[in-house]
């Protein structure tokens, strides 16, 4: 799509970002409270927005309802025009084995809270987001459920080349993944316009 903004800034920023958060990786970023997690999400959103790269960032949040009850899971995922186009073009390559058909046909009103998470996740994946922030959703789940989710996220990463950053206050989760753990929040300096 045509953009009025110079691409160079955006590409430089994405290049810098990928030095800290390389693609096809899952990171766990330790936070102390929900408020801090919210501040981080907001800060990163502003950062991407500043470099006109907000279309690369997807945030999965639990604060608001994100599913329309009268649509199926598939319709919920393909809500935006971009997602529909991507689905049409790329679904045969990766979508079939990434998302089960039964899940796609489920009605929006019969979903478990975890399904809401998967809808948000696949929405970002189909929308070709290169960075996905998961805001503390895994903190309140059972360890076996978290393990299953992480397995699925890791499997999807290989197909999509995205980076997933899980914000969590769960120390067990952080200590279980020491190689992907970040205790300090990476900061990016925003160049102010002259």
């Amino acid at each position: 799509m045509f953009s009025f903004h110079p691409k160079q800034h955006q590409q430089n920023f994405m290049h810098e970002w990928q030095k800290v958060f390389p693609p096809e990786r899952l990171f766990f970023l330790g936070v102390t409270s929900a408020k801090q997690a919210q501040t981080i999400c907001h800060g990163y959103w502003q950062l991407f927005n500043h470099y006109h790269a907000s279309k690369h960032l997807g945030i999965i949040d639990q604060h608001h309802n994100s599913v329309l009850p009268y649509l199926t899971v598939k319709e919920n995922i393909l809500m935006s025009q971009e997602n529909t186009m991507t689905w049409r073009n790329e679904q045969p390559q990766w979508g079939q084995h990434a998302i089960e058909r039964d899940f796609l046909e489920k009605s929006g009103k019969d979903l478990a809270p975890l399904d809401h998470f998967y809808i948000q996740f696949y929405r970002q994946i189909v929308g070709r987001k290169s960075v996905i922030l998961v805001n503390m959703i895994l903190d309140h789940l059972q360890p076996e459920v978290v393990r299953e989710i992480i397995t699925r996220l890791t499997a999807t990463l290989r197909d999509t080349k995205a980076t997933i950053i899980v914000l969590t206050a769960n120390q067990d989760l952080l200590s279980a993944n020491p190689q992907d753990r970040l205790d300090e929040i990476p900061s990016f300096k925003i160049k102010t316009k002259k």
Binding site: H64, N65, S66, L68, P69, E75, N76, S80, E82, N83
Partner: protein, 255 residues
């Protein structure tokens, strides 16, 4: 095409709100169509009344000076004007009712609107969809009302004629009411028997069965007027509040 799919899915899901709005739409359609047809009855009666006066072999100036005829003419033209005003008011009231119902519905659908925003839909597109939902609903009820009226058009038009006559008779001053009650058709026919005109006296003064041979197809212009005006009102009264509320949610929730 996904928007059409979403519109019907949403209408099915919010069926209670849709039925309430639909009932209001039906009432508006019946009331405004009836008002327009009654105005048409009065307009036809007024035109006929004046053309009949022209047929009588008396100078028009003399006729106009007769108070009873003048009063009848004024009542007819007054009724035409009043029914026209009632129709305009019914459009306004309908717009306000759609606005209120839509605003209440928007407040109840807050989480749904947020879900649309999270899914990447813009405010204009979401508002457009909500407005289209209501326009589709209007079209659906419009078709329903028109089909039912076509099935019972004879009865419907007779009822309207009766209402029209009742309203007209209520408007008559006491003197003309007494005249209407005391002078029978036969007496008036006796008075008018030497006049070479195509009408009897009672019909001249009080009119009655002018529109009885008409069908609903003769009022197709009113049906068309209600179609486009109704759609325009429903769209405006739905799109603007939806746009404002989405803008508010943008400011309040996503900033």
């Amino acid at each position: 095409m996904r928007i059409i799919q979403r519109i019907f899915a949403s209408l099915r899901y919010h069926r209670v709100a849709a039925i309430i709005l639909g009932v209001m739409m039906t009432l508006f359609l019946l009331f405004s169509l009836s008002t327009l047809i009654i105005r048409d009855f009065q307009q036809v009666a007024l035109n006929l009344f004046e053309s009949r006066l022209n047929l009588i072999d008396l100078p028009r100036k003399t006729l106009k000076q007769l108070p009873a005829l003048q009063q009848l003419s004024q009542i007819r033209s007054g009724l035409v004007k009043t029914t026209g005003q009632i129709f305009v008011h019914s459009l306004l009231v309908f717009g306000i009712v759609v606005f209120i119902i839509n605003t209440v519905s928007l407040l109840k659908r807050r989480s749904e609107l947020i879900a649309y925003k999270i899914a990447g839909k813009g405010s204009a597109l979401v508002s457009w969809q909500i407005a289209l939902e209501n326009v589709f609903l209007y079209l659906l009820f419009y078709l329903g009302v028109v089909l039912v009226l076509i099935c019972f058009q004879g009865t419907y038009l007779k009822v309207l004629e009766k209402i029209n006559q009742t309203v007209f008779q209520q408007q008559l001053p006491a003197t003309l009411k007494t005249l209407q009650q005391h002078i029978t058709n036969q007496q008036l026919d006796q008075i008018f028997k030497n006049q070479i005109t195509a009408f009897n006296g009672h019909n001249l003064l009080f009119g009655d069965t002018i529109a009885s041979q008409r069908t609903l197809a003769d009022y197709d212009r009113y049906l068309l007027a209600l179609l486009w005006r109704g759609c325009l009102i429903v769209f405006s009264a739905s799109y603007l509040p939806a746009l404002c509320y989405n803008w508010y949610l943008n400011r309040k929730v996503f900033r």
